[in-house]
Assembly symmetry: C2
Homo-oligomer: 675 residues x 2
């Protein structure tokens, strides 16, 4: 194998020196990266703990992701199970339960590349929907992996529309058992993770029938495989749904039930039960089945979704100061690609978005914790607002992160498409989050339905929850901005976003009402307004995110340097949103064309401001190299050496293909006499 000498910059192993271009970026940071990391992490102590926990993971070769990009679906599944089991050992050794804050650092360090994530949903659903006795029986078994569970809700023919699920559970008073059935192919459970090859148990959602009457969807604990030999339980057909766009480490599965019986006690009974005589008792809201989904949606945002965008930003920003291409100035060296305005326009608004969503998530977690406790205690007052808020935010955050990861991938040119960049893995992983745990369009419409109700309450003079209180403000006047500097006032852009959200909702609601008044049936009218209702729900979510970013920055009074750079990011996030949706703001003349030119100018100027701190801003996310697993995004910036060295490890360079001997060699004979 050829080697360059030092002047060719080739080294047989990656050097410890940091690439000088990357080093220079860090020297000029306007703030302390460590302080910002601590702010993001909620306090300095956490940072130290997190790093220690990450080191535990990275030291153990079981958790190595070195081969990740070269493995088959079978190999990745096996590695993911092995990691999950090893992680559990470590946690049991240390006495850490899933709910300990430290545990989330483990998951962060693993980067989601581990089995039994849906086992967590299985546990969460028992904790949320089970009685105290059920929790006492099942949770300890699940905690120790003595059983592996899955959450079997979605069916081949139904995902979004829960009421349409077709699996049945029929109670028989004589045997005190439920009999579960998959009545037709479309009723087969399809997609649940950990189901295809691992799970022994499942929380199965099925239509409850007692004495011929249907009581709707309920959750049941069903054993699906033997604990002795792992063979399917009687009446159970189970398998893997095959290859997907990513998630090859997860055994998403299918499940068919034919006269599978379970005892009466296996219906999760915190909010409804069937008594021995067949009496159906209900304690909760009809919406209670949403609770597990709310839990899962909130959790996925910080475990999977927002970190994916943060990692994609880290990789692409670092690469963009190492990669030099073309000349800005004909007389100078080639320029760092992050010095091109078009590259800044791609990446820096995403960086602002990653911060905006991080702060939004912190708020949602607080809001959710309070609501969850109330609901489990039987107070359902906050359920509608919590459901509407988490639905819309799940949708917009997964949309942002998916679009963002794709932009990051494409912004790295050809090398972005190499699996070794880490970006295809991040993109395809986060893209699926737009669908799992609720299709985003459906979720936006659930938020919209809630907003329409709240608007009606405002018009009727009734009180509204805090997150929608803005709907009662009046929308008179015009934007008074005269200079670029005016646009950097949070009050200004917050009001522009508020106006827009309010106007789009009012327009959609007015159209809805007009259609109904003109004789259209309500469901027809609703359908004909849905494109505009989705727009309104998005505008509402964007307003909330902007507002929360502003509030967060205001509270950073003890961190002057950090407050300053966060204020710039907040401005950038807000102005980029206006720049990208100019029509929404120009439509009613609230902002004029001339003012919009100021927005453009101000936005483009902000790009240059953020540019100089871009690397420290991604460094502050504090991902380890192992976590990023990217030849382009490592802390030291030795991009080309890593690409070359990692490529050597590919099985395509280590296995001899039959293609040459079988197909090509005979053909090449034809050229031997001529060349």
């Amino acid at each position: 194998m050829a080697q360059w000498n030092r002047s060719g910059y080739f080294r047989s192993s990656v050097s410890r020196d940091v690439n000088p271009d990357l080093k220079a970026e860090r020297r000029t940071a306007s703030f302390s990266v460590e302080r910002l990391t601590a702010v993001l992490d909620g306090g300095a102590d956490n940072t130290r703990t997190r790093r220690a926990m990450e080191a535990v993971i990275h030291r153990d070769p079981v958790f190595s992701r070195e081969k990740q990009y070269f493995q088959s679906q079978n190999e990745r599944y096996e590695a993911a199970v092995r990691k999950a089991v090893r992680l559990k050992e470590k946690m049991l050794q240390r006495g850490w339960t899933e709910n300990r804050p430290e545990t989330k650092y483990f998951y962060r360090a693993l980067g989601g590349d581990v089995a039994f994530n849906v086992h967590r949903v299985f546990k969460n659903s028992i904790l949320a929907l089970g009685t105290d006795e059920q929790i006492a029986k099942w949770i300890p078994l699940a905690e120790k992996y003595h059983i592996i569970g899955t959450y079997a809700q979605t069916e081949l023919g139904h995902g979004t529309f829960l009421r349409g699920l077709e699996t049945t559970a029929t109670f028989d008073t004589s045997t005190q058992e439920f009999t579960l059935n998959t009545p037709r192919i479309s009723a087969m459970k399809w997609w649940p993770g950990d189901l295809g090859r691992s799970a022994t148990h499942a929380v199965v959602f099925a239509q409850l029938y007692v004495k011929g009457e249907c009581y709707g969807l309920h959750p049941f604990i069903v054993q699906i495989r033997s604990l002795r030999d792992h063979l399917p339980a009687p009446g159970v057909t189970v398998g893997d749904i095959g290859p997907k766009m990513n998630f090859e480490h997860i055994d998403n599965g299918y499940l068919m039930l034919q006269s599978v019986t379970i005892p009466r006690e296996n219906m999760l009974g915190r909010f409804s039960q069937v008594l021995p005589d067949g009496t159906y008792v209900k304690r909760g809201s009809d919406k209670i089945n949403y609770l597990t989904m709310i839990v899962t949606r909130v959790e996925m945002l910080w475990v999977e979704v927002i970190p994916a965008l943060q990692k994609a930003c880290t990789i692409s920003v670092r690469y963009s100061v190492v990669r030099r291409q073309s000349k800005l100035n004909p007389g100078e060296a080639e320029a760092k690609i992050l010095d091109y305005q078009t590259q800044q326009q791609k990446l820096l608004p995403l960086l602002a978005t990653a911060y905006a969503l991080h702060f939004m998530n912190a708020y949602v977690n607080k809001f959710y914790s309070k609501g969850y406790t109330e609901i489990r205690e039987g107070n359902f007052d906050s359920l509608p607002e919590l459901h509407a808020l988490t639905s819309g935010l799940k949708a917009i955050i997964t949309d942002y992160c998916t679009a963002g990861a794709e932009v990051c991938l494409r912004a790295c040119g050809g090398h972005g498409y190499s699996a070794l960049s880490g970006l295809p893995f991040l993109y395809t992983k986060v893209a699926a989050s737009c669908t799992y745990e609720g299709d985003n369009t459906v979720l936006f419409l659930q938020t919209a339905r809630y907003l329409v109700k709240c608007l009606a309450a405002v018009h009727a003079g009734q009180p509204t929850p805090p997150s929608v209180a803005y709907l009662s403000l009046t929308n008179s006047g015009k934007c008074w901005v005269r200079t670029e500097a005016d646009l950097l006032k949070p009050d200004i852009y917050a009001e522009a976003y508020r106006r827009r959200a309010s106007r789009l909702l009012s327009t959609a609601a007015a159209k809805l009402q007009a259609l109904i008044q003109s004789g259209a049936e309500e469901y027809v009218a609703w359908n004909r307004c849905t494109v505009q209702l989705v727009q309104a729900a998005k505008a509402h979510c964007q307003y909330i995110i902007v507002k929360n970013f502003i509030d967060t920055v205001e509270k950073l009074t003890n961190e002057a340097e950090i407050q300053k750079i966060m204020k710039h990011l907040c401005d950038l996030f807000a102005l980029h949103g206006i720049f990208s949706n100019t029509g929404d703001f120009l439509h009613d003349g609230y902002i004029s064309g001339d003012q919009m030119d100021l927005v453009t100018a101000s936005y483009l100027d902000l790009l240059a401001v953020i540019r100089s701190d871009a690397v420290p801003l991604v460094d502050a996310f504090d991902f380890t190299d192992e976590n990023l697993n990217s030849a382009l995004g490592s802390y030291d910036g030795h991009v080309y050496q890593r690409l070359y060295e990692w490529a050597q490890k590919s099985p395509t360079n280590q296995q001899v293909s039959r293609a040459y001997e079988s197909y090509l060699k005979p053909l090449f004979q034809g050229a031997l006499s001529k060349l």
Copy 2:
């Protein structure tokens, strides 16, 4: 394995009956699908020929794509080589060369899942840049696969910026040879397809040095592997770059050259040569190296890019009338998801886009054929316009098709993410086209640079080429639209697009000039305008596509039914573009807010019009099931059965994983005593 009886809709093999929901869609077509297919195909005779050719492919098990989604990178490479060799046999048997129209039907039937696509670029580059003697020597060998070539231009450190390529070729008058070198790691050729494991030869782009002087980038034919044993030639290091996002069947490779010598005759010499005494002779334009790229860009659009969107539309539209979910009317059965306005909003504008791009491509091919012939004959007059047009259109068409394929994937809910849907393959494949053969942002800026020059010519009263003649029209007045019906007049929306393109270019050009006049250096000023210049280039391309769609529809006078539905699609494409970019049209008040409300209403009404013909419109693309290779998109619509049956074939259901015995079994013992 459990089986349902007939009432459960399960069949052990997929039935030949068409799903009744899909069947119903076809019964009400407003036009003849066969006629539309013929129109798209340029004439009825072609359709019959194409189908016959496709049948040749589909009958041969070598070309089967049944295992495609289950294979490793090694297996896919081997299968792709086998297919390419078999295809060549068939072509030689029939005496068909690459340039025969029939050949493109073979490639269409193979769906790009075949090796030696870059071998075609190798050939095209010799045909475009080689002398008659070079063509006579190399092309017959390449035609018969007696040699396999690749096109080695991009380097690890340089893609876009051709002048920055670092590989050198130094001429020695004493030996009459060029010596090629890779001076450092960033100069390694990286990405060329067919290079990693197959190619025997390469067209290598290198900086030409003669007697110490650099003459810039030139193409050289270099043998890189032995024709006897396929080992790397002396001084050559070559290998595979490893896994990518898709393209696993292609052996994208790296190539390092250390003092590799080739004879003087191996420099491609149609436009420049080095004489035996070292004299450098140039016959062409500096831009001549772009010619192969123009050829490749034009070809990729119809071979890979536009069909990807057409296939994604076919799959997602068919699935959207088979999938029923939720109820539109509480009293009725669940609705087809294509009856939801939000689903129409996702898919139907894409359908219109697929047609718009098909027609645009037909125009570009004609324009290109004429220009190519002139250029090869030494008349370079049309090169700038051809380059600008193909650059911008390559960028916008790949952008459209990538965004579109992603929307189609997401619009199929969870099942879209299954590899078995075919959509992840289509999406990841077309996404790469945004970067290969020229990064889209760079290409838009090349078009923008040309437009800025043309605008200056207009201001100077000089003539301009036809594609930019519109810049000389005046932009006075306002849009006079008063009703929704007014918006369906092509003159109206064409003028709106023209105004917008003209305004965005003028704004960017004025800013550029103002910056230069205020003392900024030209390159600084240019960089500070690039975000807006890209916007202007996009608006220019969109105007051209709308205009071409209008012209195409006008010419369909002999096909009344087809003209009618194409007119609807043209309206939809145009109004969707306005609806999606309202700010561009509202900014200067050309369209008012009230008029924009009419656009929204008119656009939403058109969705319902196209809805009723959506299935016939995708049927007219006339893709075979084998070509789509999708469990969701087959002609018969048996979605759920296919998903289930295909999943059984996955290696995850056929190989036993060690994960259970090694990691899980010991844990499950802990539950045996308790359950």
